[in-house]
């Protein structure tokens, strides 16, 4: 049988980046839309402290759900996320070596770096970089982070986001993600199909839009109150002040927003307004976090 199993792919990438000095972290335990939202990325890139980390992050995108009927689109897909802070000068070569580690012979393929700047309007984060194309297939997003939470980063971190299902389907030469061999005797479909069907059904047809909206308000309120309370704290109280909990509520807001979006209950204008609200809290949390860890004070206000 051709190519690595899904789990071996994860193991190989993990091992490769551990060898490069990365901490092997675990997926975040709150719903997120992308690996970037994990505090190990969003917050760790702030401040001067060097850091290297890698982890798998299942990412939920309710609007992309297809009831398990589309071979490539998923409600929840898996990313392998790597953060290297500061960005090493040979990072492109390192990345290409990681492809070698998962069995891609660079000499037999057409691999290119095509312009693709990344931006997350709900996080006030953006960066400059490329999508990596392997014989025309996008397999990784490669970004030099410039801002996170509206704060100019110093030093610059590099973020690598591997699309695990795509890469695995390429390695195994299968057309449908559900046919991927996850392990020696189980397919991706065996393990995930039911989840795709049910969560698509939920987010498109059965979620209670008004309840979700109310939850959004509650989480936003709590996040705001928590961030507001940080001001005026000192000493030990300041050190243990739960900004990380504020950020968790932010993440909740982001996911609830995605659920409303999938349900089709927000207009374009409202969409921008809701995203702006999440961004505001995320940026304030980031600024407070930076103060808490004793880094430089934020230099710039939230980018619109």
């Amino acid at each position: 049988m051709k190519g690595l199993t899904f789990q071996d792919l994860i193991l190989k990438l993990s091992q490769f980046w551990v060898n490069q000095g990365c901490v092997l972290q675990q997926p975040y335990d709150i719903e997120v839309g992308a690996g970037t939202m994990h505090p190990e990325t969003f917050l760790r890139v702030l401040g001067p402290e060097p850091y290297r980390v890698g982890y798998v992050q299942p990412s939920r995108r309710p609007a992309d759900g297809r009831y398990g009927e589309n071979p490539n689109r998923l409600y929840k897909h898996s990313q392998f996320q790597v953060i290297l802070k500061p960005a090493p000068v040979d990072i492109q070569d390192l990345y290409l070596k990681s492809l070698g580690a998962i069995g891609i012979n660079l000499k037999e393929h057409d691999i290119r770096f095509e312009e693709d700047n990344w931006e997350s309007p709900t996080l006030g984060a953006w960066g400059i970089g490329w999508q990596i194309l392997l014989d025309g297939l996008e397999i990784t997003q490669f970004t030099y982070f410039q801002q996170s939470g509206g704060i100019d980063l110093d030093p610059i971190s590099v973020e690598l986001t591997y699309g695990l299902e795509r890469i695995c389907a390429f390695l195994q030469g299968v057309e449908s993600v559900y046919d991927l061999r996850w392990s020696a005797d189980k397919t991706y479909g065996d393990i995930r199909l039911r989840e795709e069907q049910q969560l698509s059904e939920y987010s498109f047809n059965r979620s209670d839009a008004s309840a979700i909206r109310a939850e959004f308000e509650l989480h936003e309120k709590e996040a705001k109150e928590l961030v507001d309370g940080f001001k005026g704290t000192a000493g030990k109280e300041r050190e243990r002040y739960p900004l990380l909990a504020a950020y968790d509520h932010c993440l909740k807001c982001s996911h609830l927003f995605n659920l409303m979006d999938a349900r089709g209950v927000i207009s374009t204008t409202e969409r921008a307004a809701l995203m702006g609200r999440v961004r505001t809290v995320a940026c304030r949390t980031a600024a407070a976090y930076l103060e808490q860890i004793g880094g430089a004070t934020p230099r710039r206000e939230v980018r619109a």
Binding site: N70, D110, D135, G136, L137, G264
Partner: protein, 714 residues
């Protein structure tokens, strides 16, 4: 002094090595690097006989400078010191002032001399400013030439204090006549080592000069000259097409893009399942081109063939793995498109109308659903006008239907995925669902023209919807204060206005722009969001559209700046009419009476302005106040010509009308030779001024000649 020795000329190779620079930015960067280097050299007096060429590939910007003087010429300068009276005392001995001047100039006081100036005699010293070497100068200007490149969005790769560029700079080569220059760019020291292709070459290649560099890079998988890459692509595309007896679906922009996307481009052919050919060509080509950057190929009869040509960045695909990969990706993309095509059409196009309520056009102008209603009423107004003027192809009901359907595709999955297919998808769905061709074509075409080279909609119905849509955009946005400034034009209003001009002119549509603006303003007031447009705003909008029209007449139709001004000054509310007058003006302009008459008209306008006479203020000429034969003669010539010109104008015979006006030259000349306009007697003077005012009023309605022959033209 030795005779002028043959100056030594040297050659520079300069390369900035980067991580992959976006393909769309390279051509401009290459050109900018060339001008930056040339300008900086010229500021150092080193540009004489120098040839600067620049090249680029995704990972490098390269400059090759030949014929550079090894050293700047020495310059002799004269430095002025104190005046003679201060420099020497009564007995002619140098004073302290003279001594200190000599010291400052590093000269002996005996070498100083006296120089005659306008202010008297002054002490002076001759100084020779030694030229610096090319090496010294290049070390200073090359980093600057790179630093001064402009990019749409730059980045930093180290931190806030670090360098900024489009992508990280990783190596620098600077070799002058075989010698490495001591300089650094973005903190990277220059050397004589470049890097080859990522996968086909070495990552450390020593180079001596440009020709060595080009050769070595080529054997390391990099073709540094874009023109050679483009040729290689063209040749290989052609060879593939020829082999299968097919044609390339031409796409000049794509050729440019792939030229700058690859360091060593090669073309491979892939295939796809012919079953996908049941999808419309537009969709297939967009999928191939947009995401994948493939060239589509077609059979002799123009039908698409189930193949594609991909440009890859390696020399060959020896195992066929690359082809298989590309085919696999395309298959998934086509399957997506097919899914959208079928899913979208589970309901009819018109059923998407209510969904447009959730798609905002502009927050103060409401949703696309609101825009649709406004566009419908403007399209109806336009077609009614044309129908009443006897235009047989103007169909009110069809225009209304097409306007109703025009924006529906914005809510479809297909357009959400492939936004560049807006309009086209709607047109295709409309046709597939049995709408009449005229309506389907109008929907398909209504975003046109998207540029000056893009065709206008095929039928009058499409022109009506396109005009209505663009008028609504321009009028609505101006009404809420969204006016283009500098490079900021988020609603593409300049393009919309240009589209209006092009449709009217190409289709020769009878249309009063001010009335059309009025109709759009009325739609904005009577339909949602029920906003008013002030008369000042309407005037501003007209001016905005006329500015585009002036541009089209000047840049596309080749009329002179002054010709366009002359005709527009006489009114250009009806662009087709203005175009006719322009053609007549240009034709008659060379005849012998014309330019002198224009000079007289200019003189008349000046006289009137000076006297504070407004043209057309209702004053009449009183023939009894004439004192002179020349003024009587001009008066009668004006009256004769006026009735003739008016009749010719009404008949649209502008050239004859202009000829009749040109015939006035003799009378005008005699008038100015024999009559003093500013007579002592106030009544006589005013009567003469009134005569001139009438002349100007009568004869500047086709074109205002007093605008002709401005400095811009000479």
């Amino acid at each position: 002094m030795k005779g002028p020795a043959k100056e030594k000329r040297v050659e520079l190779l300069f390369e900035v090595g980067c991580e992959e620079i976006p393909a769309g930015m390279l051509a401009k960067a290459e050109e900018e690097l060339r001008t930056n280097i040339s300008k900086l050299l010229s500021a150092e007096n080193l540009s004489d006989g120098v040839e600067v060429e620049t090249f680029s590939a995704p990972r490098r910007l390269t400059a090759w400078v030949r014929g550079l003087l090894a050293k700047q010429p020495d310059v002799e300068a004269e430095v002025t010191g104190p005046p003679k009276s201060v420099a020497y005392d009564a007995v002619g001995a140098p004073t302290r002032a003279a001594l200190s001047f000599a010291e400052k100039q590093g000269a002996h006081v005996n070498d100083l001399y006296l120089m005659q100036t306008a202010k008297g005699e002054y002490l002076a010293a001759r100084q020779i400013k030694l030229g610096r070497t090319a090496e010294q100068i290049l070390q200073a200007i090359l980093p600057r030439a790179v630093h001064d490149l402009t990019w749409p969005r730059s980045m930093t790769w180290t931190g806030l204090e670090g360098a900024r560029f489009i992508r990280p700079i990783r190596w620098v080569v600077a070799v002058l006549n075989g010698k490495s220059l001591k300089l650094s760019v973005a903190g990277i020291a220059a050397g004589n080592t470049t890097r080859g292709h990522r996968f086909l070459g070495s990552s450390s290649i020593r180079v001596k000069n440009f020709s060595d560099y080009e050769k070595r890079l080529h054997s390391n998988g990099v073709i540094v000259r874009p023109s050679r890459r483009e040729d290689k692509i063209a040749k290989e595309l052609e060879a593939h097409a020829k082999r299968s007896g097919l044609h390339i679906h031409e796409d000049a922009e794509l050729r440019k893009l792939v030229t700058y996307l690859n360091e060593f481009p090669s073309v491979i052919q892939g295939n796809f399942d012919p079953a996908f050919l049941s999808l419309p060509d537009e969709i297939l080509v967009t999928v191939m081109r947009g995401h994948q950057k493939y060239f589509a190929v077609e059979k002799k009869n123009g039908e698409l063939a189930p193949h594609f040509l991909a440009v890859i960045n390696v020399d060959k695909d020896f195992k066929g793995l690359i082809r298989a990969g590309h085919e696999r990706v395309l298959r998934a993309r086509f399957a997506d498109a097919q899914f959208f095509w079928e899913a979208d059409q589970k309901c009819r196009l018109a059923d998407y109308l209510p969904k447009l309520e959730r798609v905002t056009y502009e927050s103060r102008l409401g949703s696309y659903r609101d825009k649709v209603e406004r566009v419908r009423s403007i399209a109806r107004w336009l077609t009614e006008q044309w129908f009443n003027l006897g235009m047989l192809q103007a169909h009110v009901a069809e225009a209304d239907r097409a306007a109703e359907l025009a924006k529906c595709d914005l809510a479809t999955e297909m357009v959400r995925e492939f936004t560049e297919l807006q309009g086209i998808v709607g047109g295709l769905y409309a046709r597939a669902q049995g709408e009449p061709d005229e309506v389907a074509d109008a929907v398909y075409d209504h975003y046109r023209p998207v540029g000056l080279d893009d065709p206008i909609p095929r039928n009058v119905t499409g022109c009506a919807v396109a005009l209505a849509d663009k008028l609504d955009s321009v009028v609505g946005c101006f009404a809420v204060g969204v006016v283009p400034t500098g490079s900021s034009d988020p609603y593409a209003l300049r393009r919309a206005a240009l589209g209006i001009v092009k449709i009217v002119l190409d289709r020769k549509l009878a249309l009063s722009l001010s009335l059309a603006i009025g109709a759009a303003a009325k739609a904005l007031l009577t339909q949602k969001p029920k906003r008013g447009v002030t008369p000042a705003q309407e005037a501003q909008i007209l001016e905005f559209i006329l500015d585009r029209a002036k541009f089209v007449f000047r840049e596309r139709e080749g009329y002179g700046y002054d010709e366009v001004s002359a005709v527009f000054r006489a009114g250009a509310d009806d662009l087709v009419d203005a175009q006719k007058r322009l053609a007549s003006l240009k034709a008659i302009r060379k005849s012998k009476n014309f330019e002198p008459l224009a000079v007289s008209f200019k003189r008349i306008r000046k006289i009137l302005e000076k006297a504070g006479i407004a043209i057309g203020d209702g004053r009449r000429v009183n023939p009894e106040l004439f004192e002179n034969a020349a003024e009587r003669e001009l008066y009668s010539a004006v009256r004769d010509a006026a009735s003739k010109v008016q009749a010719l104008k009404r008949a649209g015979k502008y050239q004859e009308a202009l000829e009749a006006i040109a015939g006035l030259r003799k009378s005008v000349d005699q008038f100015f030779d024999g009559v003093m306009v500013m007579a002592e007697n106030e009544a006589v003077r005013n009567n003469r001024l009134t005569l001139l005012a009438e002349l100007l009023r009568e004869f500047t309605t086709v074109a205002d000649f007093s605008e002709l022959g401005g400095e811009e033209r000479r």
